[in-house]
């Protein structure tokens, strides 16, 4: 159902913007700060904003790798630690919190995160998570140590290994019981969803972030290309491969999802059957999934009082409801997949494969981010001449690691959600909008066309020109307006907090200082653009004045 908006957004938004960034990087041959300075001196703020956003991203994104390491190390046990609940203190039953929710959720919220009931209760730093985070940063440091040349070789592994694992999972996933339900759910278009603008918005956002537009990493990587490189072909190929991978990954995801939903549905039915058998002392095997409804009516007719007593406990099991439980957020991805894996045979193998794949993807993203931060630093002569490459990378990794310890505290996951939701979204939209407008109108579309012709040797297709000049900016502006109206309509911002006593998530309001942090996050990256323009303006004014006084 999601596929139609996804493809349309890809063609209208993804490909043109990707081509634009690659072309800019290849033409200007510098990281994001230098490249925008060349286009127009007033736009140095855009590059700085990209670097700031990348810096925020690298701060919090590596925590996901730390979690993946944690799960990976715990996969070497039999049985898997998230498969069963731990026992309570007098060994008469399972832990209370684990009883109320499932064992996988308990493992995530209590044993991995040790989450506090709300944002205000900070708690202590979890040393296990801190260790995993340090390890994750060491791995990233190892990969970027020698600069982009070595990063290129690492990416061969981090990009190809996930494909192998996905193929293994595809074969395993499609042979699982109930996988077909998930696939049918994925491919049936839901027409009422298509008319909902939220679907189109999330498709656009998804394309945006999966291609990595606006972070400056694309410009940084493209600056290392040969100038005669055919970036038009590369842009089309990259975006198509990216989408094909997304579709492939979502097929695997939905088949596993279907398996999990079917498994939960069948256990729900079995629980209901057991409850009825025990309450009415019926013979075993007399109630099956097929005759359950008729037997329920029969029992309601023959023993109305006892049935009425039982009614609150009898859940209405529905496969659709299981499939509809939305999958979003990083924590949910860990919970859903580990729940599916624990029910497979040889679960340790699949668990190891899955978390290795997750690690590869995460480290690949981190490499892009750190490249976006390091390229401007190594480009600037002030820093590059004084310190060698290794020291600069080491300092950046160290600072990020220390800041990242915030996310290993008990309330760390709430701060992680803040960063995840607000650090990148609005700023990236603004950055990309300014980029498109800058290239088309300030630098001049004709001038850029000539540059591309010099580089590639081919005339620019009219399709790209229309997209860059009109369609993409309009689309981004409408996305922007949507986000702002959404925020204004809902009023205060809220977050989901885990309540251990109930065993589920509850909605709470953000305290004042959290709102201040959110505002700071958004402002610090967006304000760079006008500030940069202002600083350049003031500098030029001063220069002109000093020149005129000298003359």
């Amino acid at each position: 159902g999601f596929l139609i908006p996804y493809f349309i957004m890809l063609i209208v938004e993804g490909m043109p913007l990707l081509y634009l960034e690659l072309a800019v990087g290849q033409r200007m041959r510098q990281g994001s700060i230098g490249a925008w300075k060349i286009i127009s001196p007033y736009l140095c703020g855009v590059g700085v904003a990209s670097v700031v956003v990348s810096f925020f991203l690298s701060m919090y994104y590596n925590v996901i790798n730390a979690w993946a390491f944690w799960y990976l190390f715990h996969s070497f046990q039999d049985p898997l630690p998230w498969a069963t609940c731990p026992l309570n203190s007098n060994r008469t039953g399972y832990e209370e919190e684990c009883e109320k929710t499932s064992s996988t959720q308990y493992f995530w919220y209590r044993q991995t995160l040790n989450i506090s009931p709300s944002l205000e209760v900070s708690g202590a730093v979890q040393w296990e998570q801190a260790l995993c985070l340090t390890l994750a940063w060491l791995v990233v440091y190892l990969c970027i140590l020698r600069g982009t040349e070595s990063t290129g070789k690492v990416v061969y592994v981090t990009a190809s290994l996930p494909y192998c694992v996905l193929i293994i999972y595809l074969i395993r996933g499609l042979t699982l019981h109930g996988a077909v339900n998930g696939l049918i759910y994925m491919f049936t278009p839901k027409l009422e969803q298509l008319s909902n603008p939220k679907t189109w918005i999330s498709a656009a956002t998804q394309i945006f972030f999966s291609l990595g537009l606006g972070f400056g990493s694309l410009i940084a990587f493209a600056s290392y290309n040969e100038p005669s490189n055919n970036c038009e072909r590369h842009a089309i190929i990259v975006s198509l491969i990216n989408s094909a991978t997304s579709i492939f990954a979502s097929i695997v995801t939905f088949s596993i999802y279907g398996f999990k939903a079917t498994f939960n549905y069948e256990s729900c039915i079995n629980k209901v059957i057991l409850l009825l058998l025990n309450a009415f002392d019926l013979e075993e095997g007399s109630l099956t999934a097929d005759n359950l409804n008729e037997m329920k009516d029969y029992l309601m007719a023959t023993h109305p009082q006892e049935y009425a007593q039982l009614l609150p406990q009898l859940k209405n099991c529905s496969l659709e409801a299981e499939l509809d439980t939305a999958v979003q957020g990083t924590g949910l991805a860990f919970i859903v997949y580990s729940e599916a894996i624990k029910n497979m045979e040889v679960s340790q193998l699949y668990s190891v494969l899955y978390f290795v794949m997750l690690l590869m993807l995460g480290i690949g993203s981190m490499l892009g981010n750190t490249a976006a931060i390091l390229t401007p630093l190594t480009d600037s002569k002030v820093i590059a001449t004084r310190f060698p490459k290794e020291v600069i990378s080491g300092v950046v990794c160290f600072i990020n690691c220390i800041i990242g310890l915030i996310f290993t505290m008990e309330a760390g996951n709430y701060w992680f959600d803040i960063f995840n939701d607000y650090a990148a979204t609005l700023s990236l939209l603004l950055i990309v909008l300014v980029e498109t407008i800058a290239v088309c109108y300030i630098y001049g579309l004709r001038r850029f066309e000539k540059d591309l012709h010099t580089m590639i040797g081919r005339k620019l297709n009219w399709y790209w020109k229309v997209m860059w000049a009109f369609a993409s900016p309009l689309l981004i502006i409408s996305l922007f307006i949507f986000y702002l109206t959404d925020y204004i309509l809902t009023g205060t911002l809220q977050y989901q907090a885990w309540d251990g006593t109930q065993g589920q998530l509850v909605t709470k309001d953000y305290p004042g200082y959290a709102l201040a942090v959110i505002g700071l996050l958004v402002a610090s990256s967006t304000m760079c653009i006008p500030l940069g323009a202002l600083v350049t303006f003031v500098r030029k004014r001063l220069k002109r004045e000093s020149v005129s006084t000298v003359a």
Partner: protein, 225 residues
């Protein structure tokens, strides 16, 4: 005489029937799920199995209290249903009352494993409803497994980093030595070095020299032979 016997017999039976009733004092409900546990190998629940059950409970009481007075006839079963669930009590023949529930509970908890094995069932499939079972704790090794794996990976990564850093430093030292040697040789005029605009070619940054696409020999522009 016969009538007196019959009367006492019926009184005793009635009295005993009163002792074993659903929700009676010191009575416990038992529930078996034989088909769930054994599938195709499930046995049918009949009078022989009931006899075995009574025997196991009597055995348990004997083991617990070390009294050899509990007989199979002291264990009363009633209300057997199709589910296979029933109630039972343990009577005390000397006092003609039921043994206190706490004693029965403690005895069964002590010997739960033996009772389960006699019926080829487990704690979950042979349930004593008011008696909670002691769950077996999971096996925990002395050092958590994840720390071992973590240690191995950490050592590998640190070793690789140290290797790369040291190699980088050595390379830079070699380059510095070479360039000072070359400068010394230059002064002596012994080595010819290709120079472009006063800069030796080797030190030119690779990024600074690039091929101009317009002027490069593009095969497509020339007519093929």
């Amino acid at each position: 005489m016969l009538q007196v016997l019959l009367l006492t017999f019926s009184v005793v039976t009635v009295a005993r029937a009163e002792l074993c009733k659903p929700d009676a004092q010191n009575a416990f409900k038992v529930r078996l799920s034989i088909k769930t546990a054994l599938g195709d190998n499930a046995y049918a629940w009949d009078a022989n199995e009931e006899y075995l059950f009574k025997a196991m409970v009597a055995f348990t009481m004997r083991r617990y209290s070390s009294k050899t007075t509990t007989q199979i006839s002291n264990v009363l079963l009633c209300n057997v249903t199709d589910r296979v669930s029933f109630w039972f009590v343990v009577t005390d023949s000397s006092k003609n009352t039921t043994v206190p529930g706490s004693e029965v509970e403690a005895a069964i908890r002590m010997n739960r494993n033996r009772i389960n094995n006699a019926f080829l069932l487990s704690d979950k499939t042979l349930q004593f409803l008011k008696i909670s079972s002691t769950l077996a704790p999971p096996v925990e090794p002395s050092t958590p497994v994840w720390l071992i794996v973590f240690g191995v990976v950490l050592c590998l990564i640190v070793a690789a980093i140290v290797f790369l850093v040291v190699a980088g430093i050595q390379q830079r030292k070699k380059k510095n030595k070479e360039s000072t040697e070359r400068e010394n040789l230059e002064e002596k005029g012994e080595v010819t070095i290709t120079i472009e605009n006063g800069i030796p070619c080797e030190t030119l940054d690779l990024k600074a020299g690039h091929i101009n696409g317009v002027f490069s020999a593009d095969d497509e522009r020339f007519t093929s032979l």
